[in-house]
């Protein structure tokens, strides 16, 4: 079971942002979308999740997204936004419970009380349920939103179909400890049979957690493959227009990308 996007074009105003992108992700894996600022990685995620108008075809588990109703989509995939502000003073628990709006949970009242609390525990926010959302720090807000998204698609596999977690820069507001918590959570979701697609800025976290990487540059796919295939000196240096050194330090065994400032040369 997989997610495929074929020949995706996106125009914002008159400017074409994505020039025919092919993208694929498999359930059971974390697929990262990386690329420099303005390359179109968030735009690609927004097109795939139906937030932006696009031409091309997006299929989830073999079904054309364009033909799926909003509530069917909501049962199949959940999307973590970059940042969100609320218009009204909702508490943390009320925000997380919004994840139950997606339909299924209302038909299983036995878990609709416990699920939000379980989700808050998963993101390390036990005890926060009564706090006001707008009083929280940026990183805490991000994790509350993640808990809400988890509630929406709690089981990674439902009726034999994998469900999909889309994350738009999930760790951008987080400290280094919570970055690991959130990425580990994403990896666990994939290992349990779900699919995870994450737009990432941090190449080193990407190297640690991604199974597949798609590198976008100037609205086109520059490279796609495993971290070993994509994270190379030449590919990265060309995409990011700076000198980057990819190493594999012994204790990790994975790639480690070191920026090379000009004055060090």
């Amino acid at each position: 079971m997989s997610l495929t996007a074929t020949d995706i074009h996106v125009k914002l105003g008159r400017k074409e942002i994505l020039h025919g992108i092919d993208f694929a992700a498999r359930a059971g894996e974390v697929t990262a979308i990386v690329g420099p600022n303005g390359s179109g990685k968030t735009t690609l995620l927004r097109a795939i999740t139906g937030e932006l108008a696009y031409t091309g075809k997006v299929q989830i588990n073999g079904q054309d997204c364009a033909s799926m109703k909003p509530h069917e989509l909501a049962m199949t995939r959940a999307v973590l936004p970059q940042a969100a502000n609320l218009a009204f003073p909702f508490t943390v628990l009320e925000v997380v419970r919004l994840g139950l709006t997606a339909g299924l949970a209302s038909s299983r009242p036995d878990t609709s009380d416990t699920l939000p609390l379980q989700a808050l525990a998963r993101v390390g926010l036990t005890g926060f349920e009564g706090r006001y959302f707008h009083d929280l720090s940026g990183g805490e807000k991000q994790r509350v939103q993640l808990a809400r998204v988890l509630v929406q698609i709690w089981e990674p596999v439902l009726d034999g179909q994998p469900r999909w977690l889309f994350l738009d820069e999930p760790v951008s507001a987080l400290d280094i400890g919570h970055q690991l918590v959130v990425m580990q959570l994403a990896q666990d979701y994939a290992r349990a049979g779900g699919g995870v697609v994450a737009v990432m800025h941090d190449l080193n976290l990407t190297a640690m957690f991604a199974d597949q990487i798609t590198l976008i540059d100037a609205g086109s796919v520059r490279a796609h493959g495993t971290p070993q295939q994509v994270l190379t000196n030449d590919t990265l240096s060309a995409a990011y227009h700076c000198k980057l050194q990819v190493n594999t330090p012994p204790p990790m065994g994975g790639a480690w990308i070191l920026p090379q400032a000009a004055h060090l040369n």
């Binding site: 003073p89 919004l98 997606a102």
Partner: protein, 357 residues
């Protein structure tokens, strides 16, 4: 396992307890509505104390008392209650739709648009062919007010909302611009109106339940009741919309459809209430704000309790309007403006950051 069962049992019990508490709250609020209504029935010039009212209600008592109670005070009381409910609910829906606690149909020109529609129907109604006029009959004024409110809401939404976000500044400024434009057209109609119509026009600008009658009420009530029933079904979608349009879409809400329904609901309820009472301000902003302080911003409670609290507020305002300068009466719109204006300033002082959004 045992511990988990115990936890879930406790939570179920808590939920039941919460349900029961909500039910008793709802019942006590309904009781207050009934009491306020009863008070209003026995208040005013002419008849009579509570026993006379009771007698008239069950068909006893003098003919004069019966006429006063049944033909004057009853439609007036029902009008105040229904219009209060309708204004409060449309305020809450509009705030949810615009994702903005300052959106109020009266402040941003929707009531003005509805009033304009009603005035057009009154002034130009005479030019309609007799057969058409007979066909649309008493419903022409509420319907025209609905169309006026609808067009204004659509315009406002188109101008003030971009990419699912509404700027408060743009919304209020657009409201001022629309209000000025509507004022210009109103001026034109005033210029062409005859004396009778002029009196009606003045009535629109102030807002009053004094002219309430069974005929006016029966023309507007079906539309108002329809929107009061429809609004709570928007609650889940409005809650999701709090996160923004994209997030609501990802949660499985058909955002475009829901927005269309919400705009229609606001327009219908404002149109129908403006047609019967003229523009009454601030109910739509005072009631939802008070409720959010008490029960939180969840629209499921807001839209039901809002209707009840809106009814109470307008019943009380009507009572005040009758006693302040008795035996004369203040238009209820003036009473609401005198209460609502300072209240609105207080909200602004407390939430200055809202305006900078």
């Amino acid at each position: 396992m045992v511990a988990a069962d115990a936890t879930s049992l406790t939570q179920t019990a808590q939920r039941r307890g919460g349900d029961r508490r909500r039910l008793s709250q709802l019942l006590s609020v309904i009781l207050i509505v009934v009491l306020a209504a009863a008070m209003l029935l026995s208040l005013g010039w002419g008849a009579a104390d509570q026993t006379d009212v009771l007698a008239a209600l069950v068909g006893e008592g003098s003919l004069r008392d019966q006429i006063i109670i049944w033909d004057i005070r009853m439609p007036r009381m029902l009008t105040a209650a229904l219009v209060g409910a309708s204004l409060a609910v449309s305020g809450a829906v509009m705030q949810g739709l615009f994702r903005n606690p300052l959106a109020d149909p009266g402040l941003v020109g929707v009531s003005a648009g509805a009033g304009f529609g009603a005035v057009v129907a009154i002034v130009l109604g005479g030019f309609l062919p007799v057969t058409v006029a007979a066909a649309v009959g008493k419903y022409s004024v509420p319907f025209a007010a609905f169309i006026g409110g609808w067009i204004t809401t659509l315009l406002l939404y188109a101008v003030a909302t971009r990419g699912g976000r509404t700027s408060v500044a743009t919304m209020l400024l657009a409201g001022i611009a629309l209000g000025a434009l509507i004022g210009a057209f109103m001026g034109l109609l005033v210029y062409y109106a005859d004396d009778n119509q002029l009196r009606d026009l003045t009535f629109w600008s102030m807002g009053s339940v004094a002219g309430a009658s069974w005929e006016k009420l029966s023309a507007s009530a079906p539309l108002i009741i329809l929107t009061l029933i429809a609004a709570p079904f928007l609650a889940r979608a409005l809650n999701a919309l709090t996160l923004g349009e994209a997030a609501a879409h990802h949660l499985g809400i058909d955002v475009q459809k829901m927005k269309r329904i919400a705009i229609m609901t606001v327009a219908a309820s404002i149109g129908a209430s403006t047609a019967v009472t003229g523009g009454i301000g601030f109910v739509g902003i005072v009631v939802p704000h008070l409720l959010r302080l008490v029960q939180g911003p969840d629209h499921r409670g807001l839209l039901i309790n809002g209707a009840l609290l809106g009814a109470i507020i307008l019943l009380l305002a009507d009572a005040i309007s009758r006693v302040v300068i008795a035996p004369a009466e203040l238009p209820i719109g003036i009473v609401m403006a005198a209460i609502g204006g300072p209240f609105f300033l207080w909200i602004l002082l407390k939430n200055r950051n809202l305006v900078e959004m």
